[in-house]
Symmetry: C2
Subunit: 340 residues, 2 copies
DNA sequence: TTGTACGCGTTATCAC
DNA sequence: GTGATAACGCGTACAA
């Protein structure tokens, strides 16, 4: 039924191994037979069976992607399509495809990773997010399976290749940006404290305050996945304080959009009454009302370089673990203004 | 190095074929040997090599996903994560993984599909979007390869399983919603006319006008991928007409967000001056300012059912092509109000 | 430069 | 119930 390498060989009047060599573009095959074989391949519409190839060659030409649980709200974040776009671009340059395991919760996702690795479905893995106590990192690291992580791993930091932003510095600069505008009562609205990224940014925020001799106030810190129900209350509570904040540093644009909505609901004007700044600079930031001042973390590059680094590891057995820092840049828009 | 079925067999004191039967949970194997074999598998940490299995069993337990070119702006649309979430959920129920080919333009994506199919990388394919003259549909259809499309295929409509909304009706209802609010000057802002979905919705819009005896005006129709630069001009032009529209029917929430931004820039208030309604009801719609009246098209179900249908086809050789319509529902929010 | 023969790790078809 | 044995389609020493 399906046309195999043997059919091509027969038609071209050569041995199967010769066909295989032509596919691999082995230089030791004469141009004349190459042409003969290629004609036969075209004629028959031949395509190599990738499973057979993977089996024999012990390589799949595929990269595994590990996303947060699709049940997770994070899944909705435009961050992911964009990293994937970066990864996909690099992968394509090298002829690699992408493989995504399905899993509804942490345990299932872990099993999926094990299946990818032990089942030899992929040659390497990219973790699109990582948390404090990441079983997957633990597993991959101890299996010596090639992988890179987008973001900063909590453990083995200098033994695992990863690509990240300097979130500490970025958060510091963003906070300082507000301070420079005259704000002193600055709230921090973060995501799960379980994410390394969150703590990095929180620390950067703290340092900026310290540098400006502004006291750190616990009651200005909110940690909720409060994109929906929860959030309204959080903002409300903040604004009900005796000294409500005049500016918000928000974890990402999606959250910031939520904050904007809640403020507007309460009749609080941005940026006249309060300023709102955030991270990621996804398309949203530009489209929102008002457009958001946001740190461009170059998500595409985050993905592109992660793939690049992983593919390097695959080609080069004894490549050292590498930390790659992608530069960031504050994009100043309408959501932040001087304090009056 | 890697532990194979033979190692397990040896340790358990049985034949490799018996191990294979235990994995498949063949009922003709005695419980005692099953236990013996499973113990051996656990002890050795055995995991079947999927490539070998695929080769022998001629099935990969993987579904191929075809997305629009990642260079495309559509890629940013929250629509995709959400369909994929639906697909992923169903796929996981049946133990299938997802496979994404990489490709920067139409031609490369087409090649990727061919590679998936001929290379036997996947058992079936889901097209996440389709256009008027879709080479991929043509190829898949003529290859008799199992596939379903999300949306309505332009050709072979009743020979290809697909899952779609009733976009014609949805657009009609949405337009009527505005008419019921007293609007008569209603503009339509669509995406590429190359998408079947766009035309369906445009037709629904037209019919609603006709039913209400409101003349159709060519100058109220805008077709641009104008998420960024282009759009500002389009809205400006509309509002500069002698009789500017008092309401906008917009193709999707992301575009609507853009429209909202532009209107606000021009000092036009929504919904006081004009109403804006759109499609998809992604999280954005709720978070935007003001929150958008949007048609919930149940994106998750779109994906879930597409996967379901495809998996059915795989299990059931002679399943008839099927059209599945996912119900929609207008979610009324703050962006639309009576005309005054 | 090209052909032969074997192995990659499974599943499936027979036997027993 | 279980065990040999032959595919599955390709890559690769080794030989020629």
């Amino acid at each position: 039924m399906t046309v195999t390498i043997k059919d091509v060989a027969k038609l071209a009047g050569v041995a199967p191994s010769t066909v295989s060599r032509v596919i691999a573009n082995n230089p030791r095959i004469s141009d004349s037979t190459k042409k003969k074989v290629r004609d036969a391949m075209d004629y028959l519409g031949y395509h190599p069976n990738i499973n057979a190839r993977s089996l024999a060659a012990r390589s799949t030409q595929a990269l595994g992607l590990v996303m947060p649980s699709s049940a997770d709200k994070a899944f909705q974040n435009p961050f992911f399509p964009e990293v994937i776009r970066g990864i996909s671009t690099k992968a394509h340059e090298k002829g690699f495809a992408l493989y995504i395991s399905t899993g509804m919760n942490e345990a299932e996702i872990f099993d999926g990773v094990v299946e990818m690795v032990q089942g030899r479905r992929v040659d390497g893995i990219i973790l699109l997010s990582t948390s404090m106590d990441d079983k997957i990192v633990e597993y991959l690291y101890s299996s010596h399976f090639p992988f890179t992580v987008v973001g900063k791993p909590y453990k083995y930091e200098d033994k695992i290749s990863h690509v990240d932003n300097d979130n500490y510095r970025a958060a510091g600069e963003l906070t300082k940006h507000l301070i420079d505008l005259g704000h002193e009562r600055i709230a921090f609205i973060g995501g799960s404290l379980n994410l390394v990224m969150t703590t990095d940014r929180l620390l950067g925020y703290e340092r900026a305050l310290r540098n400006a001799n502004i006291p750190f106030r616990e009651d200005y810190i909110v940690h909720e996945e409060f994109l929906k129900e929860g959030g309204s209350g959080a903002v409300e509570a903040l604004m009900a304080l005796a000294e409500p904040p005049t500016a918000f540093v928000v974890m990402d644009d999606l959250m910031a959009l939520g904050v904007l909505g809640m403020l507007s609901e309460k009749g609080i004007s941005v940026p006249d009454d309060v300023s709102v700044v955030s991270f990621n600079n996804v398309m949203l930031a530009e489209l929102s009302n008002p457009p958001l001042t946001s740190v461009d973390i170059n998500i595409f590059q985050l993905g592109y370089r992660a793939a690049d680094c992983l593919l390097d590891t695959l080609e080069n057995e004894d490549k050292k673990p590498e930390r790659i820092i992608i530069p960031h840049k504050i994009i100043d828009r309408m959501s932040s203004a001087p304090y009056r």
